[in-house]
Chain length 200, copies 2
């Protein structure tokens, strides 16, 4: 079959196809939507992409994304600098921020130790974590990596690394998710929920 | 709660949130993905958006999107100019093109008559359709608008408009989708399938 595609449109579709979770049909739908936008809106979209790349860097303290030297959380006077929550990605920090319950600071590793994917401790923001622990302000480090094999291994690695510093090192609680159903909880989660039971 | 968002990142998330079918979580995921792209890829993405807007216009014959005066289908010598398939959107034309069975040309209305949304025949590419029928090359017009109330109404309106020209006017067949299940087909579809039954 001959190719009757329009090149600039095809390129836009291909750009959307690169995004995670966007298949070819959705990419087409999005490309046509962008094409039907007013010209100014499309220009804004295009600018937002380049600007995000130009202006966003890593916070020099916590390695989270920031448009200044320090990220808004590290800059804030209201945040408790004695508690550091270690997360895998900036989106995990946003998720914790979303609870509105956490008043400490974050440290973003930008990944997990994963030998299968060739990612060792050196590729993560671990030296930055050690550097900020040197000032002695921090008292507690909360390991909030994901409860996956790699996340667990990274938390274990870090806790061994930090133990000599005499800090309190904690881990997020495992258990049944709120609104979940015992019947459908997997064995490991259920075992951890039993293990971590608390007095009423 | 104070706002600890990073402005350029937030703007990118908002741009993705504008797209259809993209909620706030997905928009976040996409924005972070774009941020983690190599700089050249992000620049390409940004350029694809502006270029699509600058370079793409409507084909002067069939009103489909094109980067030249005539779209690839209208330019092609291999396509049968005597058959015109009238569709609502460029994506419908792509869907029909995807079958590989259709060798005629298209005409894209860019919408349907929808009085509730204030869209009358004048806002659609109907005058362009009438203009191209003037040269007498066309012999058949296939109505391939969607089987919705508005699509039907538009097909009816057009067929009445074109009847005096003495053309053959056809409509896509209604019936059970291939691989579908009689039990789950709706009444109207089933009634139309009966009505349109053919001899074996």
């Amino acid at each position: 079959m001959a190719n009757y595609n329009v090149a600039p449109l095809q390129r836009l579709v291909e750009q959307f196809e690169r995004l995670p979770g966007i298949g070819s049909k959705t990419a087409q739908r999005l490309a046509y939507f962008v094409l039907n936008m007013p010209k100014e809106q499309a220009a804004e979209f295009s600018k937002a992409i380049t600007e995000a790349h130009e202006k966003i860097r890593r916070c020099e303290i916590c390695c989270n994304f920031s448009d200044q030297e320090k990220c808004p959380v590290c800059r804030s006077e209201a945040r408790d600098k004695s508690t550091i929550c270690v997360v895998e990605t900036p989106r995990d920090a946003i998720a914790i921020e979303g609870t509105g319950e956490y008043k400490g600071t974050y440290h973003v590793l930008h990944g997990v130790i994963s030998p299968l994917n060739g990612i060792g401790p050196d590729q993560l923001c671990i030296k930055e974590l050690l550097a900020r622990l040197n000032d002695g302000k921090a008292q507690e480090v909360i390991m909030a990596t994901n409860p996956t094999v790699e996340g667990e291994a990274t938390a274990m690695y870090l806790s061994r690394l930090l133990k000599p510093l005499g800090l309190k090192i904690t881990r997020l609680a495992y258990g049944i998710p709120v609104g979940g159903d015992l019947e459908y909880a997997d064995d490991v989660t259920l075992a951890r929920a039993l293990e971590g039971r608390s007095e009423l």
